[in-house]
Amino acid sequence: MNELLPAFDFHHVVVAPWTDYLPATGAWMLMGFFVTATCGLVGNYLMLRRMALMGDAVSHSVLPGLVIAFLITGTRGTWAMFLGALLAGVATTVIVETIHRKTRVKQDASIGVTFTTLFAIGVVLVSVYSSQVDLDAECVLYGEIGNIAALDEGGIPAPLVRMGSVLIGVVLLITIFYKQLLVSSFDPGLARSLGVNTTATHYGTMIVLSIVAVSAFEAVGAILVVAMLILPGATSGLLTTRLARMHGLSVVHAALSTVLGVHLALALGSQIAPAIVVAGAGLFGLAWVFSPTQGLWLRWRKPAKPGTAPAEAS
């Protein structure tokens, strides 16, 4: 076990990321923050609309969209990738709805069948055309956030610019359509009676979700996107019930988990994206235990059964 954990080097883990390594770690942190914040903001609405698992489905099915777009256009251009992912995302939504509506298969099973099939198609395509596609299984699993060029090597890296613009786009969309999103997420019936087009809102959310999923895919891979979509929203949902505050808190969660995650990755010598998620899950765990309104410590204290209260509760 000892050889597994590298010796804890205070300078390497805590100080250097802010001094010597800053060009590299800065790019990682910025990218990580952009990804987690974007996903977290969109994820808030997925949580409220009970579409968390559509996030799971869309983030997986983006893969065949990417590969097919690449095979058709032959380039890895931003627009081709976005378009492919967008079509894949919308196709997932439509297929899930079709299976669910036309047969007696329940929605969860139809999600499960759809996204695994699409993802399998993607993986098979990647392995068949591995010589041509600039994607591999590792990239699918944990992204290539660690490979982002350092800041000082000739300007700002392109992925950073792309993700940053997606973040700005998402923030703008939420600001403009805040009222519509708010009403339609909490009470679709009321929203319709107020003249909000709920179908358009639904598909709009799904389209934004696909865009976010594809841009985050590059950095953190298909599966970890799910964590980034759900964790910030779930954490802030434990701490507040106001939507605006939830947004703020999920951005805070994103920033904290990114910084902690980068340190964790340095300390453990692991990949960065999973370490960010682990840090985020840790923060969620803290919120779960210590939330002022629904925290576990309230439950542990109330029954007042001696011996059952774990140490964290005191």
């Binding site: 299976i99 036309k102 695994t116 993802f119 399998a120 068949v128 010598g269």
Partner: protein, 485 residues
């Protein structure tokens, strides 16, 4: 267990599966550049021990995943399978760390513990917070998966033996990497799953479909749930090496969902799910063997998805195409019967003396153009219910009998609603319009008896009697002759 009809469908799908096989085989040979025929010969002669293990392993995982998948699909916990399969990853890495080698038993134990922790976490989250179940599943799935990835990348980077650990094979699966000890473990777990399901079949059945009833009859619902989770986690773990973490949930969900489209009985559903699971797994192992660089998991999943697509389209009762076809033929029949009824009405109105009915009068009655009536009558002619002769249309004996039946059904139902349900006579027509096409002979007899063999409906029209229907009286005699002439 499986009826002849179901066997027929299974063979139908086999045929369906062969189409993509042929397509794919061509592609694979392009990429791998080996002699496809030789590969096929090696596959079917099973000379390679690794192939033998791969095939046996695939069949075993098809059995255990199909069997347990059937339960999670009917219990509406399909995505619990997804969450479990991702949640076992840290356990896999932990099991490896236990004694720094790929010991299948240590990995099984570690992964099962991680899976159970994950499922317990989901229930704890939904119980103690306002987080909904779907979000809890996604949260546990991704967080555990990330923890597993962290551990795994640590092992690969920091340990000298890490690169050879083969842990990355757990991601997308490689059936060819299965060894003797893996297969032995797989058989043990599969056997355990089959025996447990057989022993506790009744408990599983009741808790799956009616939890309230199960609790009321004193069954330990919670323990059944936890036991199922344990079996599920174990079968996920044995499937990992062949299918991979990412897609093992498909082997649980897809065969069972396909079976769910085909039958209503749990034992048939489980049998079918097992058959589909084995089929999909062996097809996947086959392709991954033929094309050397292809990961097994995705191919197995695509095999299962093909089966699902077949059930989705052609399932006899719930298939989309079958339903569409049934609706189409039903609406065609209804239309023909309505035309027959209209002919009867015209014939009745114009006095039974007439031998045939003019198309023009029929068009007026149906409020349709002559062209439309022409099409309708032609359809009757195709089905042997009427004959057309110039501007006149005549019943055949079969057509006359069916038209009298329809009119009788309609008028008896109207009378029944008026007499027994106290509905005003001018409100009963629409209802009768629908029911007339589906009333069976015995129901009509019973209606007639209850109505005291009434002869007239609420609107004063004569109800054709049984004799009218079955003796080819009235119009048919002459019309039949005329039609034949």
């Amino acid at each position: 267990m499986v009826s002849k009809k179901q066997l027929r469908f299974i063979f139908g799908w086999l045929a369906l599966l062969i189409a993509p096989v042929a397509l794919h085989a061509a592609q694979v040979s392009d990429v791998v550049e080996t002699d496809l025929v030789e590969q096929l010969a090696r596959f079917f002669s099973m000379r390679d021990p690794s192939l033998r293990f791969a095939l046996i392993g695939s069949i075993l995982l098809g059995i255990s995943c199909g069997l347990l998948g059937g339960f999670i699909v009917v219990r509406k916990m399909a995505l619990m399978g997804d969450a479990l399969s991702h949640a076992v990853l840290p356990g896999v890495a932990g099991g490896f760390l236990w004694n720094m080698e790929k010991d299948p038993v240590a990995i099984l134990v570690g992964a099962t513990i991680a899976g159970l922790l994950g499922s317990a976490m989901v229930s704890a989250l939904t119980r103690t917070t306002r987080i909904k179940e779907d979000a809890a599943l996604g949260l546990v799935l991704a967080s555990f998966f990330a923890a597993g990835l962290c551990l795994q990348t640590m092992i690969i980077q920091n340990l000298p033996s890490g690169t050879q650990s083969g842990l990355d094979k757990f991601m997308f699966g490689q059936a060819a990497a299965l060894g003797w000890d893996d297969v032995a473990l797989m058989s043990a777990v599969t056997l355990l799953a089959v025996v447990m399901v057989a022993l506790f079949y009744k408990e599983l059945l009741v808790t799956s479909f009616d939890e309230g009833f199960a609790r009321a009859s004193g069954l330990p619902v919670r323990w059944v749930h936890h036991g199922l989770m344990l079996l599920l986690a174990m079968s996920v773990v044995i499937a990992l090496k062949a299918v991979g973490v990412v897609l093992v949930s498909a082997m649980l969900i897809t065969p069972a969902a396909a079976a769910y489209l085909l039958t209503d009985r749990l034992h048939r559903l489980l049998t079918l799910a097992v058959v589909f699971g084995v089929l999909a797994a062996s097809v996947g192992a086959f392709f991954s063997f033929v094309g050397k660089n292809l990961p097994t998991g995705p191919l197995m999943v695509l095999g299962a998805s093909t089966v699902f697509l077949g059930a989705f389209l052609f399932g006899p009762r719930y298939g989309v195409l079958s339903k569409w076809w049934a609706r189409r033929s039903r609406s065609g029949r209804t239309q023909r019967e309505n035309t027959l009824k209209a002919i009867y009405h015209v014939w009745e109105n114009e006095g039974a003396a007439l031998e045939g009915v003019s198309l023009k009068a029929l068009a007026e009655k149906r409020r349709a153009t002559l062209e439309e009536i022409g099409r309708e009558v032609n359809s009757l002619e195709r089905h042997g219910l009427a004959t057309v002769n110039g501007p006149m249309v005549y019943f055949t004996p079969a057509g006359r009998q069916r038209s009298a039946e329809i009119v009788r059904n309609h008028r008896l139902w109207e009378l029944y609603l008026t007499n027994s349900a106290n509905i005003a006579p001018d409100h009963v027509h629409d209802d009768a319009e629908n029911i007339e096409h589906v009333l069976g002979e015995d129901v009509v007899r019973e209606l007639e008896r209850r109505l005291g063999y009434a002869t007239h409906d609420p609107h004063g029209k004569a109800i054709p009697s049984v004799q009218d229907v079955h003796q080819n009286a009235g119009l048919t005699g002459e019309a039949g002759k005329r039609g034949g002439a």
